[in-house]
Subunit: 347 residues, 2 copies
């Protein structure tokens, strides 16, 4: 996409570092009462009053976390924000601000960065978070994005990974595996395109999968739903590396065993269909696929009536006893130890 | 340094992402009362009570911001923290926490990252800040470091760039230009080494310059000194891109003119000597060299008796009238408009 010679190309060098930041951030508005001072000083000043501040940070590296041959820059900007907001929601907190730092090589014209920031702006507007700072620099190769998300929460509401109790319900939002299958579809189309650059991919049957990969949404709505339902998760984590890896995190942090029931894992019909087409096991994809950005949490059993039948929430298992292990209970009732096969950038 | 084949080399891949973070951060201690939850959850939880939170972030890219052929990794870790703490102190705030994210290519063994984190640990200990989070990932090429620094301040004490009043004094801490001249010395030695790998550089005469480049210190001591002296800066900024660029920031943000007196600029004798040796103009180096990490602030004239004669602080000029420009008043009393020739990674 960046190779389209018809596009207008303005060199970043002309603007310089400060000019670039000013240009890219001039249309961002401050909406949060807690933002005292945003962009334009040595540091941002925030006021959380009697609430706790919640902070999370992530690095996204070209060629490792994203491939610009099928990831439009606007989507990338949006996704970079989502990945971080998801971590804030996973604390049962409200996201309020972000900082975004980018390093770009000179193969990116200004117009490319404008696209990226358009995605960031859309994410900020949709999720009601303020862009309050960051850094912009050159890189020798490729594009790197570092986002820090900031949120606020009343102390009693914060859901740590470590708070699960024995015999709590294990609940997951939405459905799993779609983002990974979307990636498979996109990778396949990329290979087809390499062989025949005139091929017109028909992604229509895979639109849900592709959208989950290219434009994931952080589950702010689930945090609001839990509040509305007066439900209090005892522990929570977001599913970025696959269900298996996240269950192991909750199990380890809470020092409890967890049983996950294979037949309860929520799968969209298009995920099941794509798994059949790609000859992949849908359970394995849900366990290890990653990038779903759904929320996984534990709940006291007496809260079950509040969530029963809610289409956004699925009970997939329960915690067991102190210092026990995490298991998958398969459809044929076999108990299989869960292992972390989640996504790891180093392997 | 990384090419030393005698060193023990452990592949990062063996540890995986979570194992790596655990390994690198296991010896870090939490000292700040405001740190409720550090590393090990989706996000960090902090409690600033009635104080404001102050947040700053910076990206450091190999080949752009640092050169590993003369920058030891331990120093790099230390400097990455300093660069960010300096921004917090420039708000007249106390630094309390940092997050550090790194992206590394597989040419770096675990031992290299241990060195880097040893520098981070030393910085955290010396400056009393907690490491509370971050991200660790692979990169296609080189090393990238993203640091977010967090601090706290009472609202009345925060010094913005925009607070200067007409006829305030302009004050700078320490001395300027040494870090840039240190870089010149190191670059020269690198060229000598390329021609003759057996040459033994004698850096002893340049030790102050080289140390200012490789191991800068953020001026926490100056913030503490100002508090002790009961001095209240009306505006403040840290000198990372050179005195000229920072004066222009203060001038623009405060919408005031500023006169800087060339003969007042504090220069260490070794900077003057090195400038003569390298045939460079010491004023230009102080104005545009960068990486000094000193503090530049404005002060009501009636506070002058409190700082008079203090060896750490030098009055270098004063603000002028509303919406006027910034000038250098040269030794021969010529008024020269200041221009931002500070360091810019894009040029």
């Amino acid at each position: 996409m960046l190779e389209d010679k018809d596009q207008e190309r303005t060199s970043i060098e002309k603007l310089g570092e400060f000019g670039l930041i000013e240009h890219l951030t001039k249309d961002f508005k401050i909406e949060q009462k807690s933002t005292i001072k945003g962009i334009g000083d040595d540091a941002t000043v925030l006021d959380f009053k009697d609430k706790k501040a919640v902070i999370s940070t992530d690095l996204l590296i070209e060629g490792v976390h994203f491939d610009l041959s099928y990831m439009p820059l606007k989507h990338l900007g949006y996704k970079a924000v989502m990945v971080n907001l998801s971590d804030i929601y996973a604390m049962n907190a409200t996201a309020t601000q972000i900082t975004i730092s980018i390093a770009v090589s000179n193969r990116f014209p200004l117009e490319a960065l404008e696209e990226l920031y358009a995605g960031v702006a859309m994410a900020c507007k949709t999720y009601n978070v303020d862009l309050v700072g960051g850094d912009t620099t050159s890189s020798k190769t490729g594009l790197m994005i570092s986002v820090t998300a900031i949120g606020e929460a009343n102390e009693v509401n914060i859901a740590y990974r470590s708070g699960a109790k024995p015999n709590d319900l294990l609940v997951v939002s939405g459905d799993l595996g779609a983002a990974y299958m979307g990636l498979q579809v996109l990778e396949r189309e990329k290979e087809v395109f390499k062989v025949n650059p005139n091929s017109q991919p028909d992604l229509e049957p895979y639109s849900y999968l592709v959208e989950r990969q290219l434009k994931p949404e952080a589950r702010k709505d689930i945090i609001e739903l839990l509040k509305k339902l007066d439900v209090h998760p005892t522990s929570m984590i977001d599913i970025s590396d696959g269900l298996s890896s996240e269950i192991l995190h909750l199990s380890k942090s809470s020092r409890l065993g967890i049983d996950l029931y294979e037949d309860k894992i929520p799968l969209d019909p298009t995920v099941i269909a794509a798994c059949e087409e790609f000859k992949m096991d849908s359970t394995l994809i849900a366990l290890s696929g990653g990038e779903d950005y759904e929320l996984l949490f534990t709940l006291d059993q007496k809260e079950f009536p509040k969530i029963k039948g809610n289409p956004n929430l699925t009970v997939v298992g329960h915690t067991t006893g102190k210092d026990e292990d995490a298991f998958l209970i398969s459809r044929n009732n076999t108990k299989i130890p869960l292992t972390a096969q989640g996504w790891n950038s180093f392997t």
